[in-house]
C-alpha cells in the first residue's frame, strides 16, 4: 500500500465530510471509512477506535443539546435562572449536535489508516525528498504516542498509591506534570538517539522508494473521482445542503453525490491484504 494513495483517500473523505452540511452524505462517508478500515485492519483492531468515536460523537451531541437553545421542537425546558443550562432543550439542537459528532467521527476515521495500516517508513518512503527529514522526525515522534498513554496510567497509579486523589482540576497537575515532563524527556532522548545515528547530516538515501502499484492507482483515481463528482454535485445543486434550524426537515438525497461517497469504498478491493 502506498502512503500517497492513502493520503488521496483520506483527503477525499475529509473534503466531502467537511464540505457538505447534509448528514446523509456525512453518514455515507463514515460508513465507507468504517468498511474500508474493517477490510484493511480487521474489526478487532478498530473496535476501540470506534468506541472512542461513539463517545466523542455523543459528547458533541450532548454539548450542543445543552448549550444551543434554538429550534422549534422543544423537548423540555429548564428555568432561565440556571446559568449556562437554563432555557428550552430542542430536538433540532440534539440532531445538529449528532451531525457534528458524525463529522468528527468521519474525520478521525479518514486519518486512521496512517496509524492502522501504514508503518512509519511507508510514510517516509512515499514523501518527496524535500520532506524526508520532516517525515522521519514525525514518524519517530509517532512511536512515542503509545508511550504517553502508558506513562499516564503509570503515573496516575503511582500518585494514587502516594495518597493523591483527584479533587478538582488543579489536583490533576500532580499527574499531568510528570506525564508531560516524562514525554518531553522521552522526546529529547529519541532526538539524541537520532542525532547519534547521523540524522540530519545531509542529503539521505533510501533503501527503497515507495512505488505506486495498480491497486494504489485505483484508490487514488477513485478518490479523485469522488472529489470531482461531489464538487460538481454541490455546484449543480444536486448535493443539497441541510440545516437543522429552525425546524427539522429530512435531508434530500440525490444518487450522484451518493455515488461519489460510494467511490470511497474502493480501497476495500485494494487494502484487504493488510489485515
Amino acid at each position: 500500500m502506498n502512503a500517497r494513495a492513502v493520503a488521496a483517500w483520506s483527503a477525499a473523505c475529509l473534503f466531502i465530510v467537511l464540505f457538505t452540511t447534509n448528514p446523509a452524505y456525512k453518514a455515507l462517508v463514515l460508513a465507507a471509512a468504517i468498511v474500508t478500515l474493517a477490510a484493511g485492519a480487521g474489526l478487532r483492531r478498530i473496535r476501540r477506535l470506534l468506541f472512542a468515536i461513539i463517545i466523542v460523537a455523543a459528547f458533541a451531541a450532548l454539548l450542543n443539546f445543552a448549550s444551543a437553545h434554538l429550534g422549534a421542537t422543544v423537548l423540555f425546558s429548564l428555568p432561565a435562572s440556571i446559568p449556562g443550562l437554563g432555557g428550552p432543550f430542542t430536538l433540532e439542537a440534539l440532531v445538529f449536535g449528532l451531525t457534528g459528532g458524525l463529522t468528527i467521527g468521519a474525520a478521525i476515521l479518514a486519518a486512521a489508516p496512517f496509524s492502522l495500516l501504514l508503518s512509519a517508513h511507508d510514510v517516509v518512503d512515499a514523501l518527496p525528498r524535500m520532506l524526508s527529514r520532516s517525515g522521519a522526525a514525525i514518524a519517530a515522534s509517532l512511536n512515542l504516542v503509545p508511550a504517553v498513554g502508558a506513562t499516564f496510567v503509570q503515573v496516575s497509579e503511582a500518585q494514587r498509591m502516594r495518597g493523591w486523589r483527584p479533587r478538582g482540576p488543579r489536583s490533576w497537575a500532580e499527574v499531568v506534570v510528570p506525564v508531560v515532563l516524562t514525554s518531553v524527556e522521552s522526546s529529547i532522548q529519541l532526538a539524541e538517539s537520532m542525532e547519534a545515528r547521523g540524522f540530519g547530516s545531509g542529503p539521505r538515501t533510501y533503501v527503497r522508494r515507495a512505488r505506486m502499484r495498480r491497486a494504489d492507482w485505483l484508490v487514488t483515481l477513485a478518490a479523485a473521482a469522488a472529489v470531482v463528482l461531489f464538487g460538481v454535485s454541490t455546484a449543480a445543486g444536486w448535493a443539497a445542503p441541510w440545516y437543522a434550524y429552525p425546524s427539522l426537515v429530512i435531508p434530500q438525497v440525490d444518487p450522484r453525490p451518493v455515488v461519489a461517497c460510494l467511490l470511497l469504498c474502493a480501497p476495500v478491493l485494494a487494502w484487504r491484504a493488510r489485515r
Binding site: 508503518s119 512509519a120 517508513h121 522521519a136 514518524a139 519517530a140 512511536n143 508511550a147 506513562t151 503509570q154 503515573v155 497509579e157 503511582a158 500518585q159 494514587r160 498509591m161 502516594r162 495518597g163 493523591w164 500532580e174 506534570v177 510528570p178 506525564v179 515532563l181 516524562t182 524527556e185 522521552s186 532522548q189 529519541l190 532526538a191 539524541e192 538517539s193 537520532m194 542525532e195 547519534a196 545515528r197 547521523g198 540524522f199 540530519g200 547530516s201 545531509g202 542529503p203 539521505r204 538515501t205 533510501y206 533503501v207 527503497r208
Partner: protein, 451 residues
Amino acid sequence: MARATLDRLTYRYPGAEASALREVTLRIDGGLTVVAGPSGGGKSTLLRVFNGLVPHFHGGRISGRAEVAGRSILDTPTRVLARSVGFVFQDPELQTVYATVDREVAFGLENAAVAAAEIPGRVEEALEEAGIGHLAGRPTSTLSGGERQRVALASALAMKPQLVVLDEPTSQLDPDGAALVLSAARRIAGQGRAVIVSEHRLHALMGAADQLVMVEKGAVSATDPRGWRAPRFTPPAPHPAHAGSDVVCASAAAAGFDGRPVIERLDLAVRGGEVVALMGPNGGGKTTLLRLLAGLLPPMAGTVERLQGRIAYLPQNPAALLHRPTVLDEVRFTIDRSGEDEEAAAILAELGMLHVARRYPRDLSSGERQRAAVAAVLPGTPRLVLLDEPTRGMDAGARGALVRLIDRLREHGAAIVIATHDAELRAAVADTVLMVAAGKVSAVADEALHR
C-alpha cells in the same frame, strides 16, 4: 594507534555549579573498555563525549582536547561523528525510529547517504554481527528488551564505526537479555573493534576487558582490569521467623487486560515482616502481579484481601512520578498525604541522598533518580511495600542502603514484595523467591537460585 583520546578535558552542563568531568585524560585502543563507578559520578557524560553529544547536543562549557578517529570531537557535529562512533543507549524503547528491524538498522545508513544498493548487504552483515540475523523483517514492537538492544547494537555496527559505545545497555533487561547483549559486545571487541561499555554488572564483562575506567565525581582513572576483584557477597544474617499475620492474601486470583489473563490461579499470602521476591523474564507478569496486590488492577477471578494500612508502591519507571521542585519535596508529598509524622530528611539520610535533597529530581543521574523515587514512596511505616525493579541503575553502595532500608521496614512489620532481576538483592533480603513466567507463579528452590 589510539581510536580515541581525551586530553585534560573539563566539562560543565549548562547552569550546573560543578563540572561533570574534570581534567580527564584517557586513551581508548581496540578491544573492550569497561567504564564503572557510582551513579551520578559522570559515566554517561563521559560516554557522550565520544560521539559529541557532549557538548554539541547538551550544550555547556568544555575545555581541553578530544579526538576520535582522527577528528576533533569539539569541532565536529555529532551527526558527522555518527559515521565513526556507534552509540547504544540505556532505554531500548527510546531509540527506535522505524517499525521493522531491517529498516531500523538501515536508518543510520540512509542518513549517511550510503548507496541504496549497498544498504541491504550492510544491514544483513550488521544483524549477523550482533547475532540477530533471524530477526530481519520482524516488527520492532514484537521484540523483547534484549532483542531491541541488540537491534540498537546492529544499527550502530551497520555504520562500520571505529568505536562502539554502550551506555548501561542491560540496566532494563532480564538476565537472559543482558547476557545476550554483553556476549555480543564481548564478541565484537574480540574482533579488534574498540568497544566501550558502561555497566554495573561488572562480573559479566571483566574477564574480557582490556581496560577498566573508573569514574567518580567527574574524575576519571584508567586501570588494569586484571587487578579488579568482584566485591565479596556477605550472606545476610538469618531473619527471625515471621510472627505477623497475613497482610495481603490472593486466592485463585487472575489479572489481565481486555479480558485476557496475564496472571492466572495465583495463591499467595505475604505476612507482616516477610519479604517475597519475584523473578522471571521481562513480560512474564511480575508487574501485573504487583498491581494486582496493590489493588490497581481488579482481580478477573478469585479474591485479593489486604489488611488496612498504607501501601507503598514503586512503579517500574519510578522517575516518571517525580514532579516536585526538590527531592525533599517529593518525600514530603508522600508524608503529608499519609498522615504520618516523620522527618523527610530521615529517609534521604538512610539512602545517602542528603547531598541532593535540594536538587531538582529530574536533574539527577538515572541511578540517583531511582533512589529519589525509592525515597519518595518509602517514608514512614507502610503496611504493604511493593517494589518493581528497585535497583535499576543503582551502584553497589546504593543497593546496600536499600537492603538496610528494606530490613528496617521488615522489622516494623511491613509485608514486602519485590519484583527484581537482581540476584544479589534477592539473596540479601528475600525469605521466599517466586518465579513468574508466562502468567504462572511457582516457588523457586534454593539450589535453582544458586545456579
